[in-house]
Symmetry: C2
Subunit: 137 residues, 2 copies
Protein backbone atom coordinates (compact mmCIF):
# COMPACT_ATOMS: atom_id res chain seq x y z
CA UNK A 1 0.00 0.00 0.00
CA UNK A 2 0.99 3.64 -0.12
CA UNK A 3 2.32 5.74 2.74
CA UNK A 4 -0.25 8.52 2.61
CA UNK A 5 -2.42 9.00 5.67
CA UNK A 6 -5.10 11.55 6.42
CA UNK A 7 -6.48 12.36 9.84
CA UNK A 8 -10.18 12.40 10.54
CA UNK A 9 -11.35 14.22 13.63
CA UNK A 10 -14.86 13.50 14.91
CA UNK A 11 -17.24 16.47 14.81
CA UNK A 12 -19.67 14.69 17.15
CA UNK A 13 -21.00 11.33 18.35
CA UNK A 14 -24.06 9.15 17.92
CA UNK A 15 -26.38 8.53 20.87
CA UNK A 16 -28.47 5.46 20.06
CA UNK A 17 -30.25 2.52 21.69
CA UNK A 18 -28.12 0.25 19.42
CA UNK A 19 -25.24 -0.87 21.60
CA UNK A 20 -23.64 -3.77 19.78
CA UNK A 21 -23.27 -5.13 16.27
CA UNK A 22 -25.32 -8.24 16.95
CA UNK A 23 -28.41 -6.21 17.81
CA UNK A 24 -27.98 -3.77 14.92
CA UNK A 25 -30.36 -4.23 11.98
CA UNK A 26 -28.71 -5.55 8.83
CA UNK A 27 -30.49 -3.05 6.62
CA UNK A 28 -31.60 0.45 7.51
CA UNK A 29 -35.09 -0.32 6.34
CA UNK A 30 -35.49 -3.15 8.85
CA UNK A 31 -36.22 -0.82 11.71
CA UNK A 32 -33.20 1.36 12.45
CA UNK A 33 -34.11 3.55 15.40
CA UNK A 34 -34.45 7.21 16.16
CA UNK A 35 -31.14 8.49 17.51
CA UNK A 36 -29.33 11.70 18.42
CA UNK A 37 -26.39 13.31 16.71
CA UNK A 38 -24.50 15.16 19.43
CA UNK A 39 -22.04 17.65 17.98
CA UNK A 40 -18.92 19.22 19.42
CA UNK A 41 -19.43 22.81 20.52
CA UNK A 42 -16.80 23.98 18.01
CA UNK A 43 -19.12 22.86 15.16
CA UNK A 44 -21.98 25.18 16.15
CA UNK A 45 -21.58 27.65 13.28
CA UNK A 46 -21.59 24.87 10.71
CA UNK A 47 -24.88 23.46 11.97
CA UNK A 48 -27.02 26.50 12.08
CA UNK A 49 -28.90 26.03 8.82
CA UNK A 50 -29.81 22.40 9.54
CA UNK A 51 -33.60 22.59 9.64
CA UNK A 52 -36.28 20.23 10.88
CA UNK A 53 -37.55 17.87 8.21
CA UNK A 54 -34.54 18.03 5.92
CA UNK A 55 -32.94 14.83 4.67
CA UNK A 56 -29.21 14.55 5.22
CA UNK A 57 -26.36 12.13 4.75
CA UNK A 58 -24.53 11.50 8.01
CA UNK A 59 -20.99 10.22 7.56
CA UNK A 60 -19.64 8.20 10.46
CA UNK A 61 -16.43 6.39 11.30
CA UNK A 62 -17.41 2.79 12.04
CA UNK A 63 -14.89 2.41 14.81
CA UNK A 64 -15.77 -1.19 15.63
CA UNK A 65 -15.27 -2.43 12.05
CA UNK A 66 -12.48 -4.70 10.79
CA UNK A 67 -10.29 -2.88 8.29
CA UNK A 68 -8.50 -5.87 6.81
CA UNK A 69 -11.59 -7.26 5.07
CA UNK A 70 -11.92 -7.21 1.25
CA UNK A 71 -14.58 -9.89 0.66
CA UNK A 72 -17.76 -10.52 2.64
CA UNK A 73 -20.97 -12.49 2.58
CA UNK A 74 -23.49 -9.63 2.14
CA UNK A 75 -25.78 -9.18 5.11
CA UNK A 76 -23.48 -11.43 7.14
CA UNK A 77 -25.36 -14.42 5.69
CA UNK A 78 -23.10 -17.32 4.63
CA UNK A 79 -25.75 -18.29 2.05
CA UNK A 80 -24.93 -15.12 0.09
CA UNK A 81 -21.90 -15.59 -2.17
CA UNK A 82 -18.68 -13.85 -1.16
CA UNK A 83 -18.54 -10.40 -2.71
CA UNK A 84 -15.88 -7.69 -2.96
CA UNK A 85 -16.51 -5.16 -0.18
CA UNK A 86 -16.65 -2.25 -2.62
CA UNK A 87 -19.84 -3.75 -4.07
CA UNK A 88 -21.42 -4.08 -0.62
CA UNK A 89 -22.35 -1.91 2.31
CA UNK A 90 -20.44 -4.02 4.81
CA UNK A 91 -19.08 -2.00 7.76
CA UNK A 92 -15.91 -4.10 7.49
CA UNK A 93 -13.72 -2.47 4.81
CA UNK A 94 -10.35 -0.67 4.56
CA UNK A 95 -11.72 2.77 5.48
CA UNK A 96 -14.90 2.08 7.45
CA UNK A 97 -16.88 5.22 6.66
CA UNK A 98 -20.62 4.82 7.17
CA UNK A 99 -23.16 6.67 5.00
CA UNK A 100 -26.57 7.09 6.61
CA UNK A 101 -29.52 8.75 4.94
CA UNK A 102 -31.70 10.16 7.71
CA UNK A 103 -34.25 12.90 8.32
CA UNK A 104 -33.82 15.66 10.90
CA UNK A 105 -36.72 15.39 13.36
CA UNK A 106 -35.71 18.24 15.64
CA UNK A 107 -32.70 20.16 16.82
CA UNK A 108 -31.81 21.63 20.19
CA UNK A 109 -28.52 23.46 19.77
CA UNK A 110 -25.80 20.87 19.30
CA UNK A 111 -28.21 17.93 19.65
CA UNK A 112 -29.97 16.81 16.47
CA UNK A 113 -32.65 14.11 16.59
CA UNK A 114 -32.87 11.93 13.44
CA UNK A 115 -34.85 8.90 12.30
CA UNK A 116 -33.58 5.64 10.83
CA UNK A 117 -29.95 5.76 11.96
CA UNK A 118 -28.18 2.41 11.69
CA UNK A 119 -25.13 3.29 13.79
CA UNK A 120 -24.04 2.05 17.19
CA UNK A 121 -24.11 4.20 20.30
CA UNK A 122 -20.84 6.14 20.58
CA UNK A 123 -20.03 6.02 16.86
CA UNK A 124 -17.98 9.08 15.79
CA UNK A 125 -19.64 11.45 13.32
CA UNK A 126 -17.22 12.87 10.74
CA UNK A 127 -19.42 14.88 8.36
CA UNK A 128 -22.98 15.86 7.44
CA UNK A 129 -24.11 16.75 3.93
CA UNK A 130 -27.41 17.51 2.19
CA UNK A 131 -28.78 14.42 0.44
CA UNK A 132 -30.23 16.33 -2.48
CA UNK A 133 -27.31 16.36 -4.91
CA UNK A 134 -26.98 12.58 -4.72
CA UNK A 135 -30.59 12.15 -5.82
CA UNK A 136 -30.77 14.58 -8.73
CA UNK A 137 -30.36 12.92 -12.10
Amino acid sequence: MNEHLYELQPIGWVESPLVDRDSAPRQGEQGAPVAWLVFEEAMDEGLRDLEDGVEIIVLTWLDRAHRDVLRVHPGGDPANPETGVFSTRSPDRPNPIGLHRVRVLSRAGLRVRVNNLEALDGTPIVDVKPVIHLLER
Copy 2:
Protein backbone atom coordinates in the same frame (compact mmCIF):
# COMPACT_ATOMS: atom_id res chain seq x y z
CA MET B 1 -12.51 19.84 20.20
CA ASN B 2 -11.91 16.27 21.25
CA GLU B 3 -8.63 14.38 21.03
CA HIS B 4 -9.86 11.44 18.97
CA LEU B 5 -8.25 10.93 15.58
CA TYR B 6 -8.75 8.24 12.97
CA GLU B 7 -6.42 7.46 10.10
CA LEU B 8 -7.64 7.21 6.54
CA GLN B 9 -5.43 5.45 4.05
CA PRO B 10 -6.11 5.99 0.35
CA ILE B 11 -7.21 2.89 -1.56
CA GLY B 12 -6.49 4.61 -4.88
CA TRP B 13 -6.31 7.88 -6.76
CA VAL B 14 -8.31 9.87 -9.28
CA GLU B 15 -6.95 10.45 -12.78
CA SER B 16 -8.87 13.34 -14.29
CA PRO B 17 -8.50 16.22 -16.74
CA LEU B 18 -9.57 18.52 -13.86
CA VAL B 19 -6.33 19.92 -12.48
CA ASP B 20 -7.29 22.84 -10.28
CA ARG B 21 -10.24 24.09 -8.27
CA ASP B 22 -10.84 27.10 -10.51
CA SER B 23 -11.48 24.92 -13.53
CA ALA B 24 -13.66 22.42 -11.64
CA PRO B 25 -17.39 22.64 -12.29
CA ARG B 26 -19.38 23.97 -9.34
CA GLN B 27 -22.03 21.28 -9.67
CA GLY B 28 -21.62 17.74 -10.96
CA GLU B 29 -24.39 18.30 -13.45
CA GLN B 30 -22.53 21.16 -15.14
CA GLY B 31 -20.28 18.87 -17.07
CA ALA B 32 -18.05 16.86 -14.76
CA PRO B 33 -15.82 14.73 -16.94
CA VAL B 34 -15.11 11.08 -17.49
CA ALA B 35 -12.23 10.07 -15.24
CA TRP B 36 -10.33 7.02 -14.00
CA LEU B 37 -10.27 5.53 -10.54
CA VAL B 38 -6.86 3.90 -10.19
CA PHE B 39 -6.75 1.51 -7.25
CA GLU B 40 -3.87 0.18 -5.21
CA GLU B 41 -2.96 -3.39 -6.06
CA ALA B 42 -3.74 -4.50 -2.50
CA MET B 43 -7.43 -3.62 -3.14
CA ASP B 44 -7.85 -6.06 -6.01
CA GLU B 45 -9.98 -8.60 -4.15
CA GLY B 46 -12.39 -5.92 -2.97
CA LEU B 47 -13.02 -4.67 -6.50
CA ARG B 48 -13.78 -7.83 -8.30
CA ASP B 49 -17.59 -7.59 -8.35
CA LEU B 50 -17.63 -4.00 -9.62
CA GLU B 51 -19.42 -4.41 -12.93
CA ASP B 52 -19.82 -2.20 -15.97
CA GLY B 53 -22.89 -0.01 -15.84
CA VAL B 54 -23.37 -0.07 -12.08
CA GLU B 55 -23.86 3.19 -10.17
CA ILE B 56 -21.54 3.71 -7.24
CA ILE B 57 -20.70 6.29 -4.62
CA VAL B 58 -17.01 7.15 -4.67
CA LEU B 59 -15.72 8.63 -1.42
CA THR B 60 -12.67 10.84 -1.76
CA TRP B 61 -10.45 12.87 0.55
CA LEU B 62 -10.52 16.42 -0.81
CA ASP B 63 -6.89 17.05 -0.03
CA ARG B 64 -6.84 20.62 -1.31
CA ALA B 65 -9.77 21.76 0.85
CA HIS B 66 -9.62 24.14 3.81
CA ARG B 67 -10.59 22.37 7.02
CA ASP B 68 -11.16 25.41 9.21
CA VAL B 69 -14.29 26.56 7.35
CA LEU B 70 -17.74 26.34 8.97
CA ARG B 71 -19.73 28.83 6.88
CA VAL B 72 -19.65 29.35 3.12
CA HIS B 73 -21.40 31.12 0.30
CA PRO B 74 -22.85 28.10 -1.58
CA GLY B 75 -21.37 27.62 -5.04
CA GLY B 76 -18.62 30.10 -4.13
CA ASP B 77 -21.01 32.91 -5.14
CA PRO B 78 -20.98 35.89 -2.75
CA ALA B 79 -24.59 36.59 -3.80
CA ASN B 80 -25.68 33.41 -2.00
CA PRO B 81 -26.18 33.99 1.73
CA GLU B 82 -23.60 32.47 4.08
CA THR B 83 -24.67 28.98 5.09
CA GLY B 84 -23.41 26.43 7.62
CA VAL B 85 -21.16 23.97 5.77
CA PHE B 86 -23.15 20.96 6.97
CA SER B 87 -26.08 22.20 4.87
CA THR B 88 -23.89 22.57 1.78
CA ARG B 89 -21.68 20.44 -0.43
CA SER B 90 -18.70 22.76 -0.09
CA PRO B 91 -15.35 20.95 -0.29
CA ASP B 92 -14.14 23.22 2.52
CA ARG B 93 -15.28 21.62 5.81
CA PRO B 94 -13.72 20.04 8.92
CA ASN B 95 -13.38 16.55 7.39
CA PRO B 96 -13.29 17.11 3.61
CA ILE B 97 -14.77 13.84 2.40
CA GLY B 98 -16.22 14.04 -1.10
CA LEU B 99 -19.23 11.95 -2.16
CA HIS B 100 -19.50 11.37 -5.90
CA ARG B 101 -22.31 9.46 -7.56
CA VAL B 102 -20.89 8.03 -10.78
CA ARG B 103 -21.46 5.16 -13.19
CA VAL B 104 -18.85 2.53 -14.01
CA LEU B 105 -18.18 2.70 -17.75
CA SER B 106 -15.54 -0.01 -17.91
CA ARG B 107 -12.90 -1.69 -15.83
CA ALA B 108 -9.44 -2.97 -16.67
CA GLY B 109 -8.06 -4.62 -13.55
CA LEU B 110 -7.28 -1.88 -11.05
CA ARG B 111 -8.35 0.92 -13.39
CA VAL B 112 -12.05 1.82 -13.41
CA ARG B 113 -13.44 4.35 -15.88
CA VAL B 114 -16.39 6.39 -14.59
CA ASN B 115 -18.54 9.23 -15.84
CA ASN B 116 -19.39 12.50 -14.15
CA LEU B 117 -16.62 12.66 -11.54
CA GLU B 118 -16.17 16.08 -10.00
CA ALA B 119 -12.80 15.50 -8.36
CA LEU B 120 -9.38 16.91 -9.14
CA ASP B 121 -6.58 14.88 -10.67
CA GLY B 122 -4.61 13.17 -7.92
CA THR B 123 -7.43 13.21 -5.37
CA PRO B 124 -7.16 10.25 -2.95
CA ILE B 125 -9.98 7.68 -3.08
CA VAL B 126 -10.93 6.35 0.35
CA ASP B 127 -13.97 4.11 -0.29
CA VAL B 128 -16.46 2.89 -2.89
CA LYS B 129 -20.02 1.80 -2.09
CA PRO B 130 -23.11 0.78 -4.06
CA VAL B 131 -25.50 3.71 -4.49
CA ILE B 132 -28.63 1.63 -4.22
CA HIS B 133 -29.30 1.68 -0.49
CA LEU B 134 -29.20 5.47 -0.41
CA LEU B 135 -31.96 5.65 -3.01
CA GLU B 136 -34.44 3.12 -1.64
CA ARG B 137 -37.25 4.66 0.38
